[in-house]
Amino acid sequence: MKKILPFLRSMRFGMLLLLPVLVCSVIGSVIPQGESESYYAETFPGAYHMILGMGLDRLFSGWVFLTLTALFSVNLALCSVSQLRAVSARRAAAAKRAETAELLPLSASSAEKLSGYLRRRGWKRQGEGERAVWLSPALSWFGSVITHFALLGVILGAAGIFALSSTADYEILPGENELPDGTVLRLEDFRIADAEGKTDYVSTLEVISPDGRASGIREISVNHPLRFGANKYYQQTYGVAGALDVRVAATGEVRPLYLTEQSLITAGGADGVWYFSVYPGYITDENGVRKVVGHSGGDMADPAYYIVRLSGGAQEPMIVLPGESVETADAVYEFKSPRYFPGIRVKTTSVGIYALLYASFALLTAGLYLCFFAPVAAAAVGKDGYAVVSRKGEQELKERFAAVL
């Protein structure tokens, strides 16, 4: 154990782990991750068996990468603890080095000036001897410790998200949409451009949680998700839905429908409409026959529906335009302009994980700043000279002191 622990916390071990992490990262960037088997067969015809067999298609969630990350976390944790324990020893050693360092010449008035400068910059004086030893501000000694612990926090936060977070994507059509967990998303409106015509995907909706709490009408858009309860709702994608009203002849009831895939629509009887798709445009040939053009789901400049009417056992393919109706014996199908609808991503993550990650991000930045721009140092100031010792910023401190003097 005496040999293993120092090795596990050593920089050598950390570097040894970094190498395979780097190799994995390079491979993971060359081979697109998380695609379907057919994609790899098509893109890497000679190597797809190997890619799938070795799990290179899901490299970053594979056991090799996760083991490396776990070992790296152990290294980081042990290293951080040993650094924390070494802070006071490092301060004492630096003070001793400054005390015995060779002095650069300095006049008595300059010595006072330098002492005043150090005091103003938050340096702490140690002892009362003729050669005063000053240590850089207390926080600067913890820069490296803060950085390492923060990095550990980032890895733990990432692990928390990996293990505890879930996401699911839903097509949200106008009206109420019930999600599997009982949450209801009520879509009021969705637009893909703002008033000036600038692309802008905005859903206006209300979230009603399973216990009946409602978010109120809220707008969500790219970069502006909605947090409600344990979930976060993101504007993710959009699509086009065919829109029609079914007027039931017997009761006069009108049922609005939004369709995103092939569907059979009936009023209960054998007659009805087979809905295939909505197309962005159509042409009419010399015989007055309509033909759809473009891919279904594209920009709906001049939309047309492709349907088959089922009436009295006969099947009649038709191209129907918004505003037109199709009649059967028991219902009237009134086609309307197609509607854009949002794809909403629902993400569930604990608030604690967010807090850990954001705190770690802030500490990592602060720690690195302390490491490089508030370096640990000790200075000795005597009546006729001064010295400065610092592993990271000696030259810069000497320049700074020279400028003060």
Binding site: S25, S29, A158, V222, N223, K347, F372, F373
Partner: protein, 263 residues
């Protein structure tokens, strides 16, 4: 008008490279005195172009490869000027103006049309994330220039005592600053990605290569500060580092597609 500004800046950077190298080759004080003002003029036009483009686009001009490269060249110029004012090193102009010229030349090869900012880029994090990336890449580039100078002087008998040490330290300081900025880039990018795409990290090629670059420079800093590596091998390391930075900047966009492919 915009193009005139852009290409005038490019030409001035080129003249600056030539004059800086001539002044070094012939050790001519007069040419040296002319070289820096030319560089300043190129830098000013580079800035003027970015401001004009920003006004035309109605946003920060950092939204695509062209705009990033233009800002990258300008930032190299800014750091070079700041360093020159501090160190008065004559060689600095030759290598940094060459770097700024090459990056701006790369920008010139990209499409220059001003386009609307796509919804994913309309965020408060836009300026922090990309601004810090520009600063980071520029610092690494300056560090590489310093390291190149180190390699040129290394083992030359006429090298002034202490100058190699100064170069070594300067290269380290630029890497330290660049590393801090790269960290800010990655962290702000993660926060932004969570807001826009719902995930802090998606192993998108750009993200992955930013992480690779970060790990490479993290190793540099550990080797220097813990293992006391200095001098020539750190200079070589810095030069390897800039290759990685340039691959992250250019290679990833050319070779891979991903969430960062804003074309």
């Amino acid at each position: 008008m915009l193009d005139i500004l852009f290409f005038s800046g490019l030409v001035l950077y080129f003249i600056s490279v030539i004059t800086h190298f001539l002044s070094l080759a012939f050790r001519n004080e007069k040419i040296s005195k002319a070289a820096w003002p030319v560089f300043y003029a190129g830098f000013a036009l580079n800035l003027a172009y970015m401001i004009a483009r920003g006004i035309v686009a109605g946003r920060l001009p950092l939204a695509n490869q062209f705009e990033f490269a233009t800002a990258f060249a300008w930032c190299i110029g800014l750091l070079a000027i700041l360093l020159h004012r501090r160190t008065r090193e004559a060689w600095l102009g030759a290598l940094t103006s060459a770097a700024a010229f090459l990056i701006l030349s790369f920008a010139a090869l990209q499409p220059r049309t001003v386009s609307e900012l796509m919804p994913a880029l309309r965020s408060a994090w836009f300026s922090f994330h990309i601004g810090s990336a520009v600063l980071s890449y520029s610092s690494f580039m300056i560090s590489a220039c310093v390291s190149l100078r180190y390699m040129m002087l290394d083992k030359k008998p006429e090298t002034e005592p202490g100058s190699l040490g100064r170069l070594d330290y300067l290269s380290y300081r630029m890497i330290a600053f660049g590393f801090l900025m790269l960290t800010v880039t990655i962290l702000t990018g993660a926060i932004w990605a969570e807001q826009a795409w719902s995930a802090f990290w998606t192993w998108d090629p750009k993200e992955t290569w930013a992480l690779i670059t970060w790990l490479i420079y993290a190793a540099y800093l550990h080797l220097r500060l813990q293992k006391k590596w200095q001098g020539k091998r750190m200079a070589i390391y810095s030069l390897i580092g800039i290759v990685c930075v340039l691959f992250t900047f250019i290679g990833v966009n050319v070779l891979f597609t991903g969430l960062h492919s804003y074309k």
